[in-house]
């Protein structure tokens, strides 16, 4: 197999809008090329993590190598690199694309082009990939492949008349796709004699082998014993093993040379040494320059993560350390909260990333977490000329020291059918959006462009978008930059005590509304105590909203269950267990989920 020449290698990825069938097509390709029999196939082979499978999304880039005997009688090595579909993971997508020479664009035969179809295609074209379209789900009664073909040609400008018409679900037309891969995607370039130049497109931590680096060799070769150097970090290692990707397993081989996609291990202990996007070269014979495109990923969303049980702080620290080994984009640093004790301020690529990390911590590490309101990074310009990047609202300086503040703004593209344009525009206005343009991609559909403050979309924008368009709108964004904004810190006082973990930064205009809803929400979440508890929202010491949790009137088991004490005791044990999950603030016990209340301030 190692004898296969560079001309018989195809490195490609599949790009699509979420739900258009990218992962299913990947499964069929793997199945069809004989790497696995149908019986061995667990649905969606490439989505490794339980979470990915449950949510039906791809979080981490994955790769697999298959062998295809084409109609011309030759065997081709197909390296399929799966890419995450969600905007949060755009950076990973772009790295995965850089490892490919071509891309298959999957378009749903019923829905046609969506926002992420466009975003991903442009991303692929930016990387000079040869893109060919495939029209999927032709088995749907509402499928209209000819119409979609025209749309692809009109909107994207890709030749689509001979696009394979397939049903990945039913395994129809897969052969056509494989032939198209062989004929439409170019063989990789590069020369094995040149100095080593390989792009890291993913990595993960294995407790036996250390970091496993996924890379695409652009130039040169790497084998066991090669002394390698990471250009961005300067770290040097000795290669222990190289190989390629079977389905769900790593298969060692002698060497990886120009044009090949595979992995290498080098007893690397820290994922941070192998940043995605970095270039690997030969330490003894380095390449002249790094491959283009490396950039350090900046977290977009921050929040505090605290163990529900304060004693579990070391466990949380260990868990974060381990997660970071597999996810270099996760950022964390210790912080303390008066209300919550010791915890971590964590940075994420987006809200989905946050949710995934939170769920993995709870599921894989069995931790009970309290999460504080997510926020974005604000720039605070102080009167003394200092600039602070604010990730924790509690660190906001005194208003008298602040000259002005800036918040991150994104360019948002929303694709929507015409009947919902009105309500989506309304939503964008409510979220302080600035209208940029509207283009009709066809008679019934338009792309709306808005500039939106990031802090308006990190909570529930996506849900609101879906509910106001009956699920038809799709959405994509990228960071535009920072803009000056009238921002205030909203504080929450419970029983007259300020709870730092509940503070958040909000635009002045939305402060009252948010404060009011926050108080209402907390009123429902905080159980009644023996005394009355006022809940107040305040800006700069001035109370702008108030609710009251009435005092509890009784907590007594009147009935006597004869001698059945077990039942009575279970009740008391449950009650005690409930108390354990509370946070004591002053005299008030606040349940964990109250700290999440801010996430659920939607309009409905």
């Amino acid at each position: 197999m190692s004898q296969i020449s560079q001309s018989h290698i195809r490195n490609f990825c599949i790009v699509a809008h979420i739900d258009h069938g990218k992962s299913t097509l990947a499964d069929r390709i793997i199945e069809k090329t004989g790497l696995l029999t149908s019986r061995e196939m667990q649905d969606q082979v490439l989505d490794n993590m339980d979470l990915e499978r449950e949510r039906g999304i791809t979080i981490k880039a994955q790769a697999v190598r298959t062998v295809y005997k084409a109609q011309d009688g030759d065997e081709y090595i197909l390296n399929l690199i799966d890419t995450p579909g969600h905007v949060d993971f755009n950076y990973e997508v772009s790295r995965a694309l850089a490892a490919c020479d071509g891309a298959i664009l999957v378009v749903d035969a019923a829905q046609g082009i969506e926002a992420q179809t466009l975003a991903n295609v442009y991303l692929a074209l930016d990387h000079n990939l040869d893109v060919f379209p495939v029209i999927n789900k032709i088995d749907l009664p509402s499928a209209r492949p000819d119409w979609v073909k025209n749309e692809i040609e009109d909107v994207i400008g890709l030749e689509a008349q001979d696009a394979p018409l397939i049903s990945a679900k039913n395994g129809v037309g897969i052969e056509d796709v494989l032939e198209a891969i062989v004929h439409k995607i170019p063989a990789p370039g590069g020369k094995a004699e040149n100095p080593l130049q390989a792009l890291i497109f993913d990595s993960f931590y294995d407790s036996y082998k250390g970091v496993i680096v996924f890379c695409r060799v652009m130039e040169g070769r790497v084998a066991k014993g090669t002394k390698i150097k990471m250009l961005a970090t300067g770290a040097v290692f000795e290669t222990v093993e190289v190989g390629y990707f079977g389905a769900g397993q790593l298969i060692p081989c002698d060497e990886l040379s120009a044009g090949m996609v595979g992995y290498l291990t080098a007893s690397i202990k820290n994922v941070k040494d192998t940043t995605v996007g970095d270039t690997v070269t030969d330490a003894d014979r380095p390449c002249a320059s790094p491959l283009p495109g490396y950039k350090k990923v900046q977290p977009m969303v921050y929040c505090g993560l605290y163990p529900a049980d304060g004693a579990k702080y070391p466990d949380l620290r260990d868990a974060l350390e381990k997660l970071q080994l597999n996810d270099a984009s996760l950022f964390y640093e210790p912080e303390t909260s008066i209300a919550l004790g010791f915890g971590f301020r964590c940075g994420f690529l987006g809200l989905l990333h946050l949710e995934i990390i939170q769920e993995r911590l709870e599921r894989e590490y069995n931790l009970d977490l309290v999460t504080t309101a997510p926020g974005v990074v604000y720039k605070v310009y102080k009167t003394n000329g200092e600039v602070i990047e604010l990730t924790n609202p509690s660190n906001l300086p005194d208003p008298s020291e602040i000259a002005y503040m800036e918040e991150p703004i994104v360019n948002a593209e929303i694709m929507v059918t015409t009947e919902f344009i009105g309500s989506i525009m309304e939503l964008c206005q409510e979220r302080r959006g600035r209208y940029i343009s509207m283009e009709y991609v066809e008679e019934t559909r338009a792309v709306l462009k808005y500039e939106l403050p990031l802090n308006e979309i990190i909570y529930d924008f996506f849900d609101a978008l879906k509910s106001r368009s009956r699920g038809y709108a799709s959405f994509d964004y990228d960071l535009k930059g920072y803009e000056k904004s009238e921002l205030v810190k909203l504080d929450i006082l419970i029983n007259k005590e300020e709870v730092d973990a509940l503070s958040f930064i909000v635009h002045k205009e939305s402060a009252y509304e948010r404060g009011r809803r926050m108080c209402e929400k907390l009123k429902d979440e905080i159980p009644r105590h023996l005394f009355e508890i006022p809940i107040q929202a305040a800006v700069g010491g001035k109370v702008i909203a108030r609710e009251t949790v009435k005092a509890m009137r009784k907590d007594v088991l009147a009935k006597c269950y004869g001698g059945d004490i077990t039942r009575k005791k279970k009740l008391l044990e449950k009650q005690k267990e409930g108390k354990k999950r509370m946070r004591q603030i002053g005299n008030v016990e606040i349940p964990q989920k109250a700290f999440m209340a801010v996430l659920k301030l939607d309009n409905e």
Binding site: M552, K554, L557, A558, K559, G562, G563, I565
Partner: protein, 380 residues
């Protein structure tokens, strides 16, 4: 000799009330007969375990035990008398519901040895009784009560429930007033606040019932209960139980005071009955055919740890208004109660839910209202 309380469960009734989550159902005469036979067998078979005990109390609970023919009750009591040491002064209670007894039956029960009746009135308002699915009216109750007195019962409890669907403060006060005005007035009154238990028709179809009084009204009812009953010479000795002096239910006390003196064991016979003897606890099967079959009817056997016993000492003992004794705690566990429970005792004493009078720790009036909040802190 250690003392034993015996509970005998009779899982039969004429018709199930909408709020009832006890193990009880209407049953054919034949089932009742078989059940009583199985019950007698269980009582007899277990007698060897209780040779060192004196039975101080016997309690027939249900269900509606008074549904059984008097000779069946008598038969059960006879088995007990033959195989167990029954104290001469034993308190022997039978739960009775109106319309299931008459004067003759009550006389027969009295002769058989029953010396205390617990009559389920629940409400003196016929409309409320009907909503609850009770089979009797207030007048039916008066008949039973009169028959019981005529038959010579000198120790009677009346069960009442407040916070019923459609009940008003006035109607509850009326129920209380009527109960204390009976001649002669009952020696004991149990006044519970309705709990809508999961699985009952009331719970499942709550929206089809008239509204349950709001919390404010419910609390007023509760305070009126104490006020009216105390004015008529009843003393509240437990969260929901009131008695004329010296007429507290000795059987209930065994449950609640178990911690206070570990010589107070209780054994339950019959379907689903619970027992606690020494540091072991179990429950009988709740499945009628298994019970009638008779083999391996004990379930959920557990051995109580010292922590379990200490917890129960506190949360059962504190239900009694007399409270618990620190010295008794020490005698029982050879440990100072402060060493185990300093934090909750101090917390709740300072917040006025517990009171400390020297050796005695008890719930205050306010504490009785929030007893679960307090008890939860005593779970180790």
């Amino acid at each position: 000799m250690k003392t034993l309380g015996v509970y005998i469960h009779i899982p039969f009734c004429v018709r199930k009330c909408v709020y009832c989550d006890f193990l009880s159902a209407p049953a054919a005469e034949e089932t009742q007969k078989k059940y009583v036979a199985a019950l007698k067998r269980e009582i007899e078979q277990n007698a060897p375990f209780y040779r060192d005990y004196t039975v101080e109390t016997i309690f027939f609970g249900g269900g509606t035990p008074s549904i059984l023919k008097a000779e069946r009750i008598k038969g059960i009591l006879n088995v007990l008398k033959v195989h167990y040491n029954i104290a001469k002064t034993a308190e022997i209670t039978l739960e009775a519901n109106p319309k299931t007894t008459d004067y003759e039956k009550l006389c027969a029960l009295k002769i058989a040895g029953i010396n205390r009746l617990s009559i389920g009135l629940q409400s003196a308002d016929d409309r409320e009784l009907k909503i609850l699915g009770r089979i009797h009216t207030y007048k039916d109750f008066l008949q039973t009560y009169g028959d019981a007195r005529a038959a010579g019962f000198g120790n009677i409890n009346v069960d009442l429930i407040s916070a019923l669907p459609s009940q008003t403060l006035e109607s509850w006060i009326n129920t209380l007033e009527k109960a204390v005005s009976l001649t002669p007035p009952p020696e004991h009154i149990s006044a519970y606040s309705l709990i809508v238990e999961e699985g009952t028709p009331l719970y499942e179809h709550l929206e089809q019932f008239p509204p349950i009084p709001d919390e404010e009204t419910e609390r007023q009812m509760y305070y009126e209960t104490k006020r009216i009953l105390e004015r008529h010479g009843y003393e509240r000795y437990e969260i929901s139980n009131y008695a004329k002096q010296g007429c507290e239910s000795r059987h209930n006390r065994i449950y609640w005071q178990r911690g206070i003196s570990h010589t107070h064991d209780y054994v339950g016979f019959g379907l689903g009955a619970s027992s606690t003897v020494g540091n072991s606890r179990w429950k009988n099967t709740s499945d009628m055919s298994s019970y009638l079959n008779g083999a391996n009817i004990k379930e959920d056997q557990q051995t109580l740890s010292e922590n379990d016993l200490m917890e129960e000492f506190v949360f059962l003992g504190l239900r009694m208004t007399a409270g618990i004794s620190a010295a008794e705690f020490h005698r029982t566990f050879q440990k100072n109660i402060e060493d185990i429970y300093r934090e909750p005792i101090e917390k709740w004493t300072s917040q006025g839910l517990l009171a400390r009078d020297g050796d005695i720790i008890r719930l205050t009036d306010k504490g009785l209202d929030f007893s679960n909040t307090v008890f939860a802190d005593f779970i180790l």
